[in-house]
């Protein structure tokens, strides 16, 4: 697999990130209170925190699916503050891969077509090279034999592996995984985690993984803990979970 696009040493830089919901109304609530964070190239980080701590909101801002009220998001050195909607979409497609808890594959398409979809959307037209790249990715996640199966015909673990292959299709600098193993049994969760780790180590793709599973979080190089919209802990491969009162299974907001 080729090196990911954008060789900037810092993959992600968040500066003073704030986000409120219901702004201008009597029930305005600030969810994020000035987040500063940097992820270097090739980092494998876990984002943990209790339900309602702002993890999904933060992930949406990093994934350029939403805009902050204040502060800035820079992806591989590209400040996104001044970008219009079309440019944000283009950058998101090019630089960021998403893995969701419920995989969200397109059920009308085969595994191979799902993996090709981000490239197809970016280029606008189907070509042979696209198919070859997608086949290679499916092979990497161990699903070469399932490439012509409809997404709905695959098991939960297989679907999540297809979702990982899809997230890697554009060779992104950053992959955002929102509870990627939250819907899987332990065996499949480990397999999916191993796969992400493998890509991270061999390709150098940066991963930010939201998880409630302390076992998986501990296997990450870095653990960032978010509580009430603030980063309260940011440590490298430490036992932060045991000391944190917020740790433990909970659902994402």
């Amino acid at each position: 697999m080729a090196e990911p696009a954008g060789l900037h040493a810092t993959t992600l830089r968040l500066t003073g990130l704030r986000k409120s919901y219901g702004a201008g109304t009597a029930v305005a609530t600030e969810v994020l209170h000035g987040i500063d964070l940097e992820l270097g190239r090739g980092e494998f980080a876990a984002l943990i925190g209790p339900s309602g701590s702002g993890k999904t909101t933060l992930l949406n801002l990093i994934g350029l699916l939403d805009r902050p009220d204040a502060g800035s998001v820079a992806i591989a050195g590209d400040d996104t503050q001044s970008l219009d909607q079309a440019a944000l979409t283009e950058l998101r497609g090019r630089a960021i891969g998403f893995i969701f808890q419920y995989h969200y594959l397109l059920p009308a398409f085969t595994a191979l077509e799902n993996v090709m979809m981000p490239v197809l959307a970016a280029r606008g037209r189907l070509d042979r090279a696209m198919r070859a790249t997608a086949s290679g990715l499916l092979e990497r996640v161990g699903l070469a034999a399932w490439s012509d199966q409809k997404a709905s015909q695959l098991s939960g673990g297989q679907q999540q592996r297809v979702a990982i292959a899809r997230a890697l299709a554009m060779n992104p600098v950053l992959v955002l995984a929102d509870e990627p193993s939250g819907n899987l049994d332990t065996g499949n969760a480990d397999a999916v985690f191993d796969l992400m780790r493998d890509v991270n180590e061999n390709v150098g793709t940066t991963f930010l993984i939201v998880t409630h599973d302390p076992r998986l979080a501990q296997r990450c190089d870095r653990i960032i803990e978010l509580v009430d919209g603030r980063i309260v802990a940011d440590r490298a491969n430490a036992d932060v979970l045991r000391r944190s009162p917020a740790a433990g299974p909970a659902s994402s907001p």
Partner: protein, 410 residues
């Protein structure tokens, strides 16, 4: 460069979304097909009916007829202050020629849109053979130009329509009433006692009993001589390229010469007003069917946008532009319209063929000719595609505006 539309992202996604919701797609396509089929069938039927009526009317009637102006009684000019009560009796109209008809004909022939103009002498008379006598309308024609205006030659079922000085062409009904055939002798008599013998040169059938039993054609010179109109023409019959332009040309002629001009449109005003009402009713039906079809497509796509909001959110998250999402739904609308119209065309074609076989006269001939125009089907398909695209605009915009974060969260 790859120009295959089936390799385009938006086309691929649109077609796959349609296939995924096969039941919805099938139902709405059938709805479009029925609507489109009804529109095509009605259009073809109405157009056939109209052209049939027009064809039949113009079979034996010139689109424009120029006549000598009516003779009017002029009351004496009053002199002095005293008012005099008077009653003006309308003047009896004599058969007379159009003044300088050759010059007027030449002028008419120069008008754009005029195919030909032919002098005609018409008068009342009686056709006699043996003891049988029938009142007829004697029509004196110059075959060379008359056949360009009225296709008498095409209506001749026996003999020929090319009349010479002693020839007469009569209708099938008159031939039956008088017991004559081609080659037989026939006497034409006028009210003043003038009698002339003609030889039956041909027998025509205009498809109208009235015309077939009461019109006889003789040579122009013979009619001029019989009806005492030497060198004259009682009327000039004019053929125009577009029958619907007849009234416009007639109005132009009315202003340019001292003549009386009738067009077939003004002469059949009631028929035209009935036809206009029919066209209006038909257009309204077509418009409402079109609106129903458009609403059907729009409602199916609105539901589809709601059902697929998560998938749209995922597509947007992975970098699909708003314009691409917009096109995915516009294409679905267009394809539904197109496929529906293609099936509707087949249905309409089948019904038109059925109509041809079912709607017949007692003798087995079609009630009227319905021409199945390929252009009508092409136009219907193009309009249905456009309608589908327009119907998809609102749902497509809604899909394109979906916030991916909200859509994914559901």
């Amino acid at each position: 460069m790859n120009l295959n539309p089936l390799t385009r992202f938006d086309v691929i996604v649109a077609l796959r979304f349609m296939r995924e919701g096969l039941m919805q797609t099938t139902l709405i396509v059938l709805g479009v097909a029925l609507g489109g089929g009804v529109i095509i069938f009605m259009s073809a039927l109405l157009s056939g009916l109209q052209s049939n009526i027009i064809h039949r009317t113009l079979n034996y009637q010139a689109p424009i007829r120029i006549l000598a102006p009516d003779q009017v009684a002029r009351p004496l000019r009053q002199t002095g202050p005293a008012a005099v009560a008077s009653q003006v009796q309308p003047r009896a109209q004599q058969l007379r020629s159009i003044d300088q008809w050759q010059r007027i004909r030449a002028e008419v022939l120069r008008i754009d849109g005029v195919v030909d103009a032919t002098p005609v002498v018409t008068g009342p008379g009686f056709a006699q053979r043996g003891d049988a006598t029938r009142a007829v309308s004697i029509i004196g024609i110059d075959p060379a130009s008359y056949f360009n205006v009225i296709a008498l030659d095409e209506k001749v079922v026996a003999g020929t329509g090319d009349v010479g000085p002693t020839d007469i062409v009569i209708g099938t009904e008159l031939a039956k009433d008088l017991g004559t055939a081609v080659g037989d002798k026939l006497v034409l008599a006028l009210a003043n006692g003038t009698m002339t013998t003609f030889s039956v040169r041909g027998i025509f059938d205009f498809g109208s009993k009235g015309i077939n039993e009461s019109s006889v054609y003789i040579a122009l010179r013979s009619a001029q001589s019989m009806l005492d109109l030497p060198g004259g023409a009682a009327s000039i019959d004019v053929k125009v390229r577009d029958p619907f332009a007849a009234e416009t040309i007639a109005q132009r002629l009315r202003g340019s010469a001292d003549v009386h001009v009738d067009s077939w449109i003004s002469a059949n005003a009631q028929f035209f007003s009935a036809m206009s009402a029919q066209i209006l009713a038909n257009t309204l039906i077509r418009v409402f069917v079109g609106i129903t079809v458009a609403l059907g497509i729009a409602s199916v796509l609105v539901v589809s946008v709601v059902q697929k909001s998560k998938e749209i959110g995922i597509l947007r998250a992975m970098g699909t532009a708003r314009g691409q999402v917009l096109r995915v739904f516009l294409i679905q609308g267009g394809v539904m319209g197109l496929i529906g119209a293609l099936i509707g065309s087949l249905l309409a074609w089948a019904f038109l063929v059925l109509w041809r076989n079912v709607a017949t006269n007692p003798d087995g001939t079609p009630l009227f000719v319905v021409v199945i125009e390929p252009g009508l089907f092409g136009l219907a398909c193009a309009l249905a595609t456009l309608l589908g695209i327009l119907a998809a605009v609102v749902p497509a915009r809604r899909a394109a505006q979906l916030d991916p974060a909200v859509a994914i969260r559901g």
